[in-house]
């Protein structure tokens, strides 16, 4: 028999209560895995998309929205003149409802711009020119919309032909409906408006020069903000809000788990007052009693963490296959996130055990003889 046997036996005294506490903490951790995994995946997915387009610097006005605010395309002309700008591509990126799909990424790109170059044709053809009333669909978007080459797609009140299915090397690209910028501006009545400028810098430009370029753009056009791609989302207030909300919701769920574990451990200490007094009477040090309670609660946290991670991953997989958002989610279910979640669960366990452990350490062994 080891000390661990004593810990395990303590938890197994009340299997139903231990099980329910595990469920409580597991739900908290599952929420954390799902929400943080999805929000991180969203960020990573867009970064991969931008990288796939060969973008080094993104100019946009992210403000508090998830898609950037429109601004005048004249800003692009000013930026083009700056040193270290190799090429630019103006875009209009929107999240909108298209036919039966509640939320699709619509990516309108300047005709001839480099952002078209990463698209690999899987079937059909690319639009013939900027004015052809046609779109190409990313392969996931085609699946979600249930469209093939030759079908018609309705955007706003305009019907456009699906002329090709493409692969863009990233989920956001594959999940997009892609068309010419001028065509989209005409359809939506937003002539002269764009909301993203992708910028490429010459190969092997030092990072400090890229940063300097961003600062120059920000001085030149204060209404927009230029950032390197890896900072694109971290600088977005909207995304920061989403991230804060996902963490906030998760931590709230975890807090419920904390209270559950604390309640269980307190009950355990109350129920086992007599047993703890016996242990003290036969020579166990208070430190060992405290460790026993803390290890029990940490073990509860650990087990809850493992179950929670599995539940969270399963929930995300289910979510990914939900028709309304299929093709939009690329969750970041990394080993790092799992390890962090389990670590949080163990921390929660230990934290919840502190007060019960302190209570147990205050018990007097003489209670045993007094009966």
């Amino acid at each position: 028999m080891t000390f661990f046997t004593v810990i395990l036996r303590g938890l197994m005294r009340r299997p139903v209560r231990t099980g329910l506490t595990l469920v409580g903490i597991s739900i908290g951790i599952a929420a954390l895995v799902a929400l943080v995994g999805v929000s991180r995946g969203f960020e990573k997915s867009w970064e991969t998309g931008l990288t796939a387009r060969g973008t080094d610097v993104v100019v946009s006005n992210m403000s508090t929205a998830l898609t950037p605010k429109p601004f005048s395309d004249s800003i692009r002309d000013r930026i083009t003149q700056l040193p270290n700008v190799s090429s630019t591509c103006a875009l209009m990126v929107e999240l909108m409802s298209i036919e039966d799909a509640q939320m699709m990424i619509l990516s309108a790109r300047e005709w001839g711009g480099f952002s078209w170059n990463n698209l690999r044709l899987l079937s059909g053809r690319m639009p013939l020119d900027a004015d052809e009333p046609a779109v190409v669909l990313g392969q996931t978007a085609a699946e979600v919309l249930n469209k093939k080459v030759g079908d018609v797609i309705q955007i706003e009140a305009t019907e456009l032909s699906v002329v090709g299915i493409v692969s863009g090397g990233a989920l956001v690209e594959d999940g997009s409906v892609i068309l010419s910028l001028s065509l989209f501006q005409e359809i939506t009545g937003n002539q002269g408006k764009i909301n993203v400028i992708d910028i490429r810098v010459p190969p092997s430009t030092p990072e400090k020069d890229v940063k300097e370029l961003c600062e120059q753009i920000n001085r030149l056009a204060p209404e927009v903000r230029a950032v390197m791609i890896r900072e694109h989302f971290s600088s977005s207030q909207g995304y920061r809000m989403v991230r804060a909300m996902s963490w906030g919701t998760s931590l709230l769920a975890v807090l419920v788990g904390v209270l559950g574990v604390m309640n269980t451990m307190l009950m355990t200490v109350f129920e086992r007052t007599h047993e703890i007094c016996i242990l003290l009477a036969i020579g166990w040090k208070r430190g060992r009693i405290v460790r026993m309670v803390l290890y029990e609660s940490a073990l509860l946290g650990f087990l809850g963490g493992i179950v929670g991670v599995l539940m969270g991953a399963a929930a995300v997989k289910l979510l990914q296959n939900t028709p309304s958002i299929r093709g939009l989610l690329e969750p970041d279910l990394s080993v790092g996130l799992f390890a962090m979640s389990v670590a949080i669960a163990i921390f929660v366990g230990v934290l919840s055990g502190l007060y019960p452990a302190w209570r147990s350490s205050r018990l007097t062994p003489g209670l045993v003889l007094r009966g």
Binding site: T2, E275, G283, L369
Partner: protein, 241 residues
């Protein structure tokens, strides 16, 4: 190993006198209850002392003091010359110097007999195998080698008390403190348990302090302290020693 710091004057006396109480007093409820009143005595190393008296006379309180389960309100109680109340580590004293036997056995219900005996050994440096081997040997010594994997609920009262005796010997203590060890047993099992305690006392020259209200049991001891109203009213040696 002695966990009680000894004073220099007490060192020689400690060889003969294992416990020494001087003017020991214990009050409860802000002095409304006086459990012990100026109790003084000495117990020699290897002695078998029975403490008797009616309920509420202070026997159990005195046993608690001897086992560092409680502190006196005033007075001095020494173990091998060192004050028990001033011990920096009473848990270590209880773990290594004292073996407890309780009237209600106080075994841990979710642990087998073998595991119950191993519990006190967590406070020693014994390995897992050592703990198990010693627990098996102790259970064999009390005649329970065939009941090692039984939970307390599957054992009779006498068997439970024998497991408790094995547990009390786990860390090879110098003193056995027994609080009404036969109080919950029928006469047959009471006799077995009492014989076992006497045997341990004789074979290991272990100091035994046994609390009982039964004079027949007390007569098995080499010395009987009779208490009344928190005081020792008589100190006799039944065998005439």
């Amino acid at each position: 190993m002695n966990q009680i710091s000894r004073n220099s004057a007490g060192t020689d006396a400690a060889a003969l006198c294992i416990f020494e109480a001087i003017e020991l007093e214990k009050e409860f409820d802000d002095g409304q209850v006086q459990a012990l009143r100026r109790v003084s005595f000495q117990i020699a190393t290897g002695d078998f002392v029975a403490i008797t008296g009616p309920s509420g006379c202070g026997k159990t309180t005195l046993l608690q003091m001897l086992g560092a389960l409680d502190r006196p309100t005033s007075g001095v109680l020494r173990y091998q010359g060192g004050s028990i109340a001033d011990s920096p580590d009473p848990a270590a004293y209880r773990a290594r110097e004292i073996g407890f036997i309780f009237q209600a056995f106080h075994l841990l219900p979710t642990f087998s007999a073998l595991e119950n005996v191993q519990i006190p050994m967590f406070e020693t440096t014994r390995t897992r195998r050592d703990r198990r081997d010693r627990a098996l040997a102790l259970l064999k010594a009390v005649g329970l080698e065939k009941r090692v994997n039984h939970l307390p609920s599957m054992l009779s009262g006498g068997e439970r008390q024998r497991v408790a005796i094995a547990r009390s010997l786990a860390n090879d203590p110098s003193v056995l403190l027994a609080d009404e060890p036969t109080g919950n047993l029928d006469s047959e099992n009471a006799e077995i348990v009492l014989d076992l305690i006497v045997k341990i006392h004789k074979e290991h020259q272990m100091t035994v302090v046994l609390v009982t209200h039964d004079m027949d049991i007390a007569r098995r001891a080499s010395r009987v302290l009779r208490m009344k109203d928190g005081q020792i009213v008589s100190d006799i040696s039944p065998a005439g020693t």
